[in-house]
Symmetry: C2
Subunit: 107 residues, 2 copies
Amino acid sequence: MVMDTCYAVIFSSQRTDGDHGYGAMSDKMEELAAKQPGFLSVESVRDASGAGITISYWESLEAIQNWRQNGLHQVAQEKGKQAWYESYNVKICKVERAYSYPAAGHS
Amino acid sequence: MVMDTCYAVIFSSQRTDGDHGYGAMSDKMEELAAKQPGFLSVESVRDASGAGITISYWESLEAIQNWRQNGLHQVAQEKGKQAWYESYNVKICKVERAYSYPAAGHS
């Protein structure tokens, strides 16, 4: 498989204690993100201490920018700062190479 | 802070059941990676189901390649396929932009 150009948004965060509506909004945002033009996939892990990494993959920087400016997503981002996250950092990356085990195919 | 060029290695994996020496080797590899030329930082999260994401950051693609070819790391990679991981995928990325909350400084 020859990989097309693709971009990753790494969202690394530390949750505050308690839910405060986080679970429902998180599900909703994941569903909404998946409907955006240029969305490819998402993977997410959070451990019992509240440390989490979510990576979403996109076809272009424009798609990432559009999702960042989505109205409902902006409401969630604001709520994230107010209530859900002690801290987070975001890195926007261009995927240069990818491989997997077991091998998914020829690249 | 003006960000210098930097690269991320996203390692997303599913562990097999049981330790099989994984914990000790994982600690050793994290310690060894941190000593490599061009290493910047690492962040890692694994949940109770065994799903994990580890991201290491490096100054250059050469530094990533050197670490990949490190002898002890190659032993660990082989053992990873044999015993520790049901599956994994690796993505090598160029970090284009980064921001954080609370803001770490001016970028």
